[in-house]
């Protein structure tokens, strides 16, 4: 065992890149219009961050390609000149995956925003990477079809970003995550070559599944320029419920009880008191702000099945000690509840200037322990924490409320984070369930993957992108 570990050691990937310069920008002008290349100070400022707290880096220029062919030419040039390229969509990432690196070209794909095809015969939609996730969901829905993955930022996140991060959302428990809906990809490789991988076929085992390597690759292996999505029929009916608890443990135990009863709700969300207060402060939809934990639950499917499951869930919640249970009276109310839940992360910013959002996930049987651990860590380090998340998936978002200008406080936050990550790994969990590693979680990845895991990532990266021009320094070194 030891000897095989040793043989797997691959040194960190240390690239020496050329900084983007005026000559290379002139090279871009040969095939892009002036307005597709941004170099003004103001533009460098506004493309220097994504949705992650505290991470900023100005790029050297931003390109706005409109076709896959333009993407290919940009990459061919960057590869020839050995210049780093950072790909992004709407810039809503939560792990710093799309934050530029010094001297790089930003490849912003928001203009590749066409729905290429809605193939109702094969239950498939083909889209460009800049199409908004919400637009995909709406387009599918208008055709009586369903695209289930719904990350919190669904209204603005792009599908390219979702694929690159293998995003989850509120329906992961029953419907899975982005990966479960990707049938094929068109990818521009680091040297500008175009790769097609996967097909519209339900079964396809021709060769290694390269497609799956790009899902969750965080812009490090290639640039996705077309996505073929799997759609499913719309569920006929759904019901949304709220349950309020006086203790977090009781809420966690209720979640376990629901899952043990072999009911798979499509949504099983949890918000703690701090989060509920913030969400209500923004959305003002009459959420009670005096409970310790709130569960938002949704079941969908055939009407009869939905009715039965809703009743069972309400009964289980009451048995579990819920102070109050409530069934949403209308589709409007259900939508308001789900929309309010989506604002949780941003709403927490009402309480502090800096919100450090985490994304740990544990096996569901360990939820109560993880929740207690987070509370304890926050208390011991004197850091205010608001926790919410997809309890049905075991995916929690403890959010540390702080001020980045207070150095002493930030040290305490760092110490608290380390303990939360260690705790999650110890319980058989992961440091990130759906946000990705990017820059924010990079230091914690080796502890989870081990040397062999990191070595394999390095080898893989090296074979797709030998010069390391694609999003260098992200995920691992």
């Amino acid at each position: 065992m030891l000897s095989s570990e040793a043989s797997m050691q691959v040194p960190p990937l240390a690239y020496i890149h050329t900084r983007m310069n005026d000559e290379i920008i002139d090279g871009l002008r040969a095939f892009l219009r002036d307005e597709q290349i941004l170099t003004a100070d103001e533009d460098l400022d506004v493309y220097s961050f994504d949705g992650t707290a505290m991470l900023h880096q100005k790029p050297r220029c931003i390109t706005l390609p409109e076709t896959a062919a333009e993407v290919s030419r940009i990459l061919a040039l960057a590869n020839a000149e050995n210049v780093p390229v950072v790909t992004r969509g709407s810039g809503t990432g939560l792990a710093g995956g799309s934050v530029p690196v010094d001297g790089c070209i930003v490849l912003c794909l928001v203009r590749l925003d066409k729905i290429v095809e809605l193939d109702a015969k094969n239950l498939v939609m083909v889209v460009e990477p800049g199409v908004l996730t919400g637009t995909i969901a709406d387009t599918a829905s208008a055709a009586g079809l369903f695209y289930p993955p719904d990350p919190g930022s669904i209204k603005i996140s792009t599908i390219g970003g979702n694929v690159a991060n293998n995003s989850g959302g509120l329906r992961g428990l029953k419907y899975g995550v982005t990966r479960d809906y990707i049938m094929a990809l068109e990818v521009v490789l680091a040297d500008g070559q175009v790769l097609h991988t996967g097909s519209k076929c339900v079964k396809d085992v021709a060769g290694f599944s390269l497609r799956d390597l790009f899902i969750g690759s965080e812009g490090c292996l290639g640039v996705i320029t077309k996505v073929t999505l799997k759609l499913i029929p719309q569920p006929a009916s759904k019901k949304t419920m709220l349950a309020l608890f006086d203790s977090m443990t009781a809420a966690a135990a209720t979640v376990s009880a629901i899952i043990e009863s072999k009911i798979i709700p499509c949504t099983l969300e949890f918000l703690d008191r701090v989060t509920v207060e913030c969400v209500e402060g923004y959305a003002q939809i009459g959420l009670p702000t005096d409970c310790e934990a709130l569960l938002l639950m949704e079941v969908d499917g055939h009407a009869a099945e939905v009715d039965e499951q809703a009743e069972q869930i309400l009964a289980l919640a009451k048995e579990g000690g819920a102070r109050e249970v409530r069934l949403a009276e209308s589709a409007d109310e259900a939508l308001r509840l789900a929309s309010a839940r989506r604002t949780a992360f941003s709403a927490l910013a009402r309480l502090a200037p800096t919100v450090v959002l985490e994304d740990i996930t544990v096996p569901r049987s360990e939820l109560a322990r993880m929740v207690a651990l987070i509370e304890d860590v926050g208390r011991r380090h004197g850091v205010k924490v608001g926790t919410f998340g997809h309890m049905g998936d075991g995916n929690l978002h403890p959010t540390f409320l702080c001020d980045e200008r207070d150095e002493e406080e930030m040290h305490r936050v760092e110490a608290a984070l380390q303990e939360v990550f260690d705790g999650a790994i110890e319980l058989g969990g992961t440091i990130t369930g759906e946000h990705g590693v990017g820059l924010a979680k990079k230091p914690f990845l080796p502890a989870q993957l081990g040397e062999v895991g990191i070595a394999m990532l390095r080898r893989l990266k090296d074979s797709f992108d030998p010069q390391g021009i694609l999003n260098p320094g992200k995920v691992f070194d």
């Binding site: 103001e42 400022d45 949705g51 810039g91 709403a347 009402r350």
Partner: protein, 436 residues
Amino acid sequence: MSDSELNLLRDLDYSVVQQCMHCGMCLPTCPTYATTLLERSSPRGRIAMMRAIADGRRELSRSFAEEMYFCLGCLACQTACPAGVNYSELFENARAEVERQGLLDTPKRKRIRRWTLRWLFVERTRLHLLGRLLRLYQRSGLERLVRASGLLRLLPASLRELEPLTPRISRRFTAPLHARSVDPPSPRYRVALLSGCVQDIAFADTNADTIYALRQNGCAVRLPDDQACCGSLHAHNGDGEMARDLARRNIDAFAPDTVDAIIVNAGGCGSHMKHYDHLLADDPKYAERAKTWSEKVKDIHEFLAEIDFRAPRAGCGVDQVTYHESCHLKHGQQVSEAPRQILRAIPDLDLVELVEADWCCGSAGIYNITQPETSMRLLDRKMGHVRNTGVRVVATGNPGCVIQLQHGGQREEMDVDVVHPISLLAAAYRGEGEKS
């Protein structure tokens, strides 16, 4: 503090800038981001640019100034922002600093600004004078003659496009119309009405309808004659000093502690007037009264809903209506349900919801003059949605929107009437007499 050290963005309470955690939730609601798909034209991008200036990492540039004037100031981002960023304050300070540094100054722009912000929209007598001249031009046949003569072709395209936006001037302004109805004998509430600038000369009937609807609901309505322009135009266009001056004059004119409410029927004015407390917070003489003022300012729809207005017993002569939300009513004041509640209360009137009802129509104060191209693009988008409703009456609670949508109707050759919701309510109340 020397002039070179002064910077309204650097002076600003830093927590306001820091409140933005750049999550991007504002992006899909921003009409200018939807137009360019560039971060610099998004609320998040604009705040990042302001932060760079507040931090001292950047100086104000012409390009920053242009972006601040490309922003509509529609405040849709404020409604969308879960973190509660006060974009309105950031935006007004940024524009004020742009003006203080004269970054966009040209002799022509200075002339126009002086004439509008410092002369016309200051004294009502001046507006009335302009109104009378315009009405004479419109009614004497001169307008028809000028339009027919092709003289308009001599104007630059952007202005030619705007000429039809000149509102039709009312025959009488608000004051004489106040006497058309009388206060109830034993009023439940004493209120004062802002007659507005454009509303007063171009939509005096809307004011008369507002007075009538209030009186039908047990209100005694005062119309202070020494009232001034509310100052929103000034505040949104970087003239904070004049905005404060006008606020003080209105507080004197309305004497807020003598009324139960100060009623506004223009979304844009109301949104600004509710912030007099903030505007005059550092004025020792007015700060206290400004607080009382802000508590008492109510949009007409909001006020009627609050006092449980009486549902009319007759219809208003219209059977279908759709509702366009004025940005500063919806996003500036969060008044969204009350106007719909009023429309739904009118018998035999069907309210058909408009897609993107809360998207800016492109009027945005004087945006249709300063950014005609984007303004018209937004108007076309709006009129497309109106067309899809199949309804020919659009109700909206702000005079700027009324003018813009009327223009949209002409542009698209659509048969649409644009009215204030309160005019429909007043028509229904008036119809009660006929019915009985």
